[in-house]
Amino acid sequence: MTRYIIKRLLMLIPVILGVAILIFTIMYFTPGDPVKLIAGDTMTAEQHDQIAHELGLDQPYFTRLFKFLKQTFIDFDLGTSYIDNSSVSQQLFTRLPRTAIIASVCCLLQIIIAIPLGVTAATHQGGFLDSFCIVLAIIAISVPSFWIAMMFILLFSLRLDWLPSFGIDHWYSYILPCAANCLMGLGSTARQTRSQMLEVIRSDYVVTARAKGVPERTILYSHALPNALIPVITHLGTQFGSALGGTVVIETVFSIPGVGYYMTNAISNRDYPVVLGGVTLLAVLFCLVVFLVDLIYAFIDPRIKAQYEGSQKKRLKKTEKRGKAYA
């Protein structure tokens, strides 16, 4: 297992570096002059050049890129905001918990709501419960989260006055943002669970279990579910990414001072350090979660675990091949 963990961790490095380079490059090509946005239009060309020089904006692409990478990954310093000169790292770290909590709660809700829902649907295939779950799930994935967020505000804040419509001052301030943000994930995880479950229920080893006299309930939970959950776990990993992305939008709706709200404002202001830092931070977070998911995956699926426990090369190749076929 240790080998597997180390290997996976090492594989993260190029991906995270790649993300940083990609975002840096995108921002480099973004039209618009941060200097003008900072200092306004009323300045001489010399003043302009001086500010640009101070910010290092007059240097060539590679110089700026390497400076950025060195700062970020060696000094762990994300620089200062162009707008208010505050430290980006500090800003991000005070905001990150809010974003992370919303995204994590969304994933948690998927585990405790969507998976049982999917299993229920699959076991009642063709029946009323199944149709009910399917309809609910497809509606959930079709409704824009920011719109449903506003509908929640309309109902629960403005009409009923039960929950706050903005800010994140109390624990219950999290309820509406999380509810709005998790809806799409709930739908897609329930669908995924259902289809995996249906697939697995029809597999040969379930017939074997039936033939040896295992009662249907036990077959479902002891034989089918663990197998069906393997792909669902991977799906949950990607869902965390979607939840993070969704949070960015949701934070705007509820004016939550999280990473997303901070970044969306920074983008229109061409506040490069904030955007670069924010995107890199969220991408790192996402990568770490996917990494964790992979660990859980390996823990559940003995075929993956065996690759790294045993040293037989042949076995490894075989399983890899199988893994690819599923990919």
């Binding site: 029809r202 080893y205 006299g213 295992v214 009662p215 699926d301």
Partner: protein
Amino acid sequence: MENANQKSGRLLSVQNLSVQYEANNEVVKAVNGVSFDLNYGEALGLVGETGAGKTTIAKAILRILPDPPAKLTGGKILLDGENLLDVPADKMPEIRGQRISMVFQDPMTALNPVKRVGWQIAEGIRLHEHCSKAEANERAKEILKLVGISEDRFREYPHQFSGGMKQRVVIAIALACNPDLLIADEPTSALDVTIQAQVLEMMGELQKAKNSALILITHDFGVVAKSCDKVGVVYAGEIIEFGTIRQVFEEPKHPYTKGLFEAIPSMSLDVDRLSPIRGLPPDPTNLPSGCKFAPRCKYRTERCRQAVDEHDFGDGHRCRCCMYSEEHGEGGK
């Protein structure tokens, strides 16, 4: 190993069993009025082409046909006189694995990939014998040894086994509770030829030792000759000829059975050309009336298109063919 109370007599009696699949407004008549009897300790071979309905017969006996689309449309399956089709669905698990168990065709997919092999064997024992986990594990280890796998692989996962070894595990699962009837559905067709013989031999020995009855489904007459006492030839969902190995092999009666033997290359006879049976099995959604084999039969007459009779040659040797009925005269050869 020998059981003191060797049971004997009639174990299983399948009477007029019919099964059809209904899907897409199509009805596939997979099994059409199959009857046969089986005694304790006996081995029956069901031989037939792909699609003849052999697996459906087997799964119907265990009642593990997927419903929908499969529908049992008639017949009885008597196990020790008790009609299995009358047993409520939630009581069937007590019979499956305990009294009847089954070995499947493809060992590669028949084992649960996330469960340890030992656990999978012990599960059946735990369920049926109501014993403790430790006891069940002990028993499972014994059975594992019995099928020729070392005890220390008990905690391994299916992916760590080769195809032949997996099939041994599947057989171990099936034999775990000393079932009275073991159904083996082409247990060796997914295995290498060299391993086929080993697995068959092992299965035969265990069956004899435990005095279980065996239904062996295959398309290989050689296998049947080696391991069975009786044989039923299945064609288009019917048993067209049934008898002991000696009866059927030495005096095949049905033109289809004869045709099958003619299509087997012989080591002793030097024939230039094998004679295959012309044509294809009938479309199961649109079976011919009368004799199902008639369209391919060399000896067919007008009568074959309307009806088919079952003729009994004595000693349990029977055959569904008009050739032997009164009007047709004796011996159509």
